[in-house]
Homo-oligomer: 631 residues x 2
């Protein structure tokens, strides 16, 4: 085992931008049929080759006339003309218009020679008294009235589309109008995506937890991100940390694509060979950047093609992609820089960071009752995909900023221009019934971080509402929107082979799984254990010590039950609901009342009102269809 | 010829919305591979089926340890442990951790049984003195440090994606992380697009101007608009105004699609048969709406499928689509209502409208020096595609609003969230040299409406700059950014068969084409003619009368030259540049100086400064490569 390498001379963010710019990603241009051209970027300027319209065109249903004939015409003293002919749109006029005569013209029809104006049909009456029809004209028109002259709309030679235009519906319409059927556009840069790591498994295939396998998410998320930036992803099956295999894959992808984008294997630990492959067979321009997250980033070339190596940690990979790679792909695709959507807001919880690097702090936003934006950090730690999915954007903390204070104004760089604060934000106990209720609300966000965390965050002023267990519910100053009861107890395998029937049976149980202390359900178990200890006149700790696995916790409210269902635990803490869902047996220990508490200064928010309505009108029905719940 | 029908009982906008809602367009759901799921709409809620991670995972490169061993460790007094083994990411741990020992773990590797914390490698030193390597630990850790426990990120049973979520990069990442490979999504509604009209020709094919043919732009623009709204267009070749053909086409498209969208043939003139087809073979729910533009709109059903008939006029069709149809397609596609992008601004020119209907007034926007938004109407009249391409959005004038005053605050509904005011707006003389210069600026807009119109609009305070001919240039109060000269004269066929050599040769010319009086080039010709009249001691009008076609004008600065090149005119007013471009002969009559004038209160706008830079640095070079120009 060789000595581990340490990174030195981390590049500053500006250097990373410069190194990626210097790669000069250039996909070239291509010609596409007009029907597929919307959203593409015009590669060159396009001039009109024809006049639009190409002829003098009636803009009304009516009669083509010599304007001079009508100068004295009025409602009281109409001018009566002979009807000389009819022209529909798409017809060639057969008759010229002479003084004293008119030709019927439809909207869009060519105005016949001799006419210099069109009378709208509404200002005329058709007289059928004689052998030939005659037209009574009740208004005067001036030369040019109701005619669009040849070239009036677009004149031949006019510039129709500038180079670099992102073609909209309207541009496509204009190009069609001037008869363009093939459009020169900038090609979408093809980006080969290579995820590396022995631990990766393709979604859909089974995971071996004992080997520490995880699903390959970078390939899928990066493909989506490349597409959003205007590139065309080319996905390669993920590869193991093997030098020869990586070399072969990177070279072949580099020969086909405009950019090779890998993730993983970029750090300097023993097994990370990617940077050596690039060093040996291409060129390594930059290795390591002073940004958190995302330090072990690589920039270089392979097979004479631009190469960027992202960290394997999905949060790091996606952060670096968004901040540094996406702008380069956009530029190569000919797209204007993203109109960096931002929101101004106020930190509602403080954040300290003292490592002296630029920190792209993931944050989420929520509106207060007046619509002002409140910002809170979402930093769940290294590699948690939920620190991206629960976040709305980042606040950039410069190396000099060690603390963002509560109340401090910050600018949030949103992940997307479509990002809206959630309609309503809840934090608290994980509960399947609440989850079903929230499906009835548009755009809610609920962080099931446990009752105790809900209480803490509620006191900080972050969520609009919290779902709290007894003890926590009384400890906060809020408005109660509703309550419901859930049955909890011990989850045991189907048939209850160990004959568990009460809490005391946990003592000496073979393999128990508990929930963390932040959970309201865990509090209920702790209390029951305290009662049992009092009954037996021993300390609670002593009893807990006698339950194998009492301190072995899994996070989700269903997780212990799932372990029982999978056969990796013999008993677990859980809800009757989970037992019924997973088809295992349930030993009831009690009933717990959960309370939905709204922040007093948010009760008038539309999302909170919507939740209140759902609780008032739908709660009873949802409880009826959810096993283990009662009003 | 039957009596023309007049529309009665036009529907109000709200009724049109209701009729389209009542169609109940519903494309159903489908399953798509995750790699193609970004941007799609989740059809149902998706819960996590597994814990993420599925095992206790090291979040650092380091050593798995029993935390209790390290409680007294410090820089000065390190704890030295035996190295018992190594676990890389994707490895199954082979050795348990016991007190006094550590196992090397990589980031992402499973923490071996027995360990409850990980020491970061940076806080350790590897000692190789004895036979077996030992690890010096210089910091204390607490249980759980640098470990992400099973389910900490996502717990099995947690709601991952709510129903109706538009899947972003981050959602795709989360779905990959929980192993989802197929995603249930809302299908894109298929929209069959049928353009009708005898006058339509497919772009790329030749036009017969004499028959009043135009290119079919609605098919292309509507396909793009359908895609932008989340639908899938199915394009049918445009059809003529023939009852049986329309019936057959609409029925077969209706059988295949979720919505049939036609354009054209909806008005009540003799040749418009579409509404009769729908009345006879489907159901007609609504015909005619009190909105300008877009009155002759149809809503109904054909082949038991939703049907909407748009007007043939592209501006009307696209306006009605945007305001009434796009929201319905978005809803059917499961997308949230478009976050209606708007801009607040101030009318910089007044607009009167008194027809008592709702008017969707096309407008464009420009920023003043301080970044405030100014709004001006772009109403070029019925059917002009340029009233859409030169517009940025619409201002809705209610039937009661007869006048928008200059300075009045208005809300602009933008055509797109990406719409930005142009970097710089110019109005004035059409000129090929200026056009080349503007290619060097990002995002300019230039309306070549003629020098006189430029002068008028400049005085109204609309453009940032104007390009003006002599007479107009002196009449405005602006800052001169630059000037250049262009050579003008008469365009004659190659070889100059009629031996035209001077202005006097125009008298009695066979077929002359002129430019409109708004053009600066026309002013130059009028002046030369006045000089000739003075020389001959006759009136200018008398001379003009002797030139056949002196009042026959075509709009574009190249249009007369094009007529000569096409053989439809024997002589035309034009620039040496156009003659050289079109390879015809040129009879010089003079040189005209054009002036680029900036509005005094806009000179500090970045776009104006950019134009100034281009004029200072690039003008001479562009003049050199453009025939017929001089500094």
């Amino acid at each position: 085992m060789s000595e581990r390498k340490q990174f030195r001379d981390l590049a500053e963010p500006a250097e990373l931008h410069a190194a990626i710019d210097a790669l000069g990603i250039d996909p070239g241009t291509q010609s596409v049929p007009l029907i597929e051209a919307d959203g593409r970027v015009a590669a060159e300027r396009i001039d009109a080759g024809i006049d639009v319209p190409g002829f003098d065109r009636s803009t009304k249903d009516g009669y083509a006339v010599q304007a001079a004939d009508t100068f004295d015409a009025s409602e009281g003293d109409p001018f009566v003309a002979d009807l000389l002919g009819v022209v529909e749109a798409g017809d060639k006029p057969k008759t010229d218009v002479e003084s004293g005569g008119v030709v019927s013209v439809a909207t869009g029809a060519p105005v016949p020679p001799g006419a210099d104006a069109v009378i709208p049909v509404e200002r005329t009456t058709r007289l059928q008294s004689g052998a030939e029809p005659r037209i009574e004209i009740r208004t005067a028109v001036a030369p040019g009235d109701n005619i669009m002259h040849s070239g009036d709309d677009v004149a031949a030679g006019d510039r129709a589309i500038g180079p670099g235009t992102v073609l909209t519906t309207r541009d496509v319409g204009l190009l069609a109008a001037i008869g363009v059927e093939e459009v020169p556009v900038v090609e979408r840069p093809t980006v080969g995506i290579v995820s590396t790591g022995n631990e990766l498994v393709r979604p859909g295939e089974p995971l071996d937890d004992a080997r520490g396998q995880i699903y390959d998410l970078n390939t899928y998320a990066l493909a989506a991100a490349v597409r959003a930036a205007g590139g065309e992803p080319e996905v390669v099956p993920h590869i193991a940390d093997d030098y020869d295999r990586m070399h072969e894959t990177l070279e072949s992808v580099g020969e086909r694509c405009d950019l090779v984008l890998s993730s993983g294997s970029t750090s300097a630990s023993d097994a990370d060979v990617l940077y050596r492959v690039v060093e040996d067979h291409g060129s390594l321009d930059l290795h390591g950047v002073a940004v958190k997250p995302g330090r072990p980033t690589i920039v270089g070339e392979i097979a004479d093609t631009a190469y960027i190596g992202l960290p394997g940690n999905p949060v790091s990979a996606l952060s670096i992609f968004r901040t540094f790679v996406a702008p380069a792909i956009r530029e190569a695709a000919g797209r204007p820089p993203e109109s960096a959507p931002t929101l101004e807001g106020e930190m509602v919880a403080p954040k300290r960071y003292t490592e002296g690097r630029t920190y792209l702090l993931p944050v989420a936003v929520i509106e207060d009752e007046s619509g002002s934006v409140l910002v809170y950090p979402v930093d769940k730690g290294s590699g948690a995909i939920t620190s991206l999915t629960e976040a709305d954007g980042v606040v950039e903390m410069s190396p000099e900023t060690e603390l963002l204070e509560r109340g401090q104004s910050v600018t949030v760089d949103l992940f997307s221009g479509d990002t809206r604060p959630p309609s309503v934000l809840g934090i608290g106990e994980s509960d399947p019934l609440l989850s079903r209720l929230l499906d009835r609300i548009d755009g809610p966000r609920y962080l099931s971080h446990g009752s105790r965390e809900g209480r803490r965050r509620f006191r900080d002023g972050i969520p609009d509402f919290a779902l709290l267990a007894p003890g926590d519910a009384e400890a906060v100053d809020g408005e109660v929107l509703g309550t419901f009861d859930r049955e909890w107890g011990l989850i045991v395998p189907s048939g209850n082979p160990a004959n568990v029937s009460e809490l005391a049976d946990l003592l000496g149980a073979e393999s128990f799984y508990n929930l963390p202390t932040v959970s309201g359900l865990r509090s209920a178990l702790d209390e029951a254990l305290a009662d049992l200890a009092a009954e037996r006149d021993v300390s609670e700790a002593e009893l807990a010590d006698r339950i194998p696995g009492y301190d072995r916790t899994v996070t989700g409210v269903r997780s212990p039950a799932r372990r029982v269902a999978q056969g990796t635990a013999t008993v677990g803490l859980g809800l009757r609901f989970a037992a019924s869902e997973l088809d295992v047996d349930f030993v009831p220990l009690g009933t717990q009342t959960l309370t939905v508490v709204a922040a007093p200064d948010r009760v008038e928010k539309p999302g909170v009102r919507e939740l209140q309505t759902v609780l008032e009108t739908d709660l009873a029905g949802v409880i009826d269809s959810t096993p283990g719940y009662a009003p």
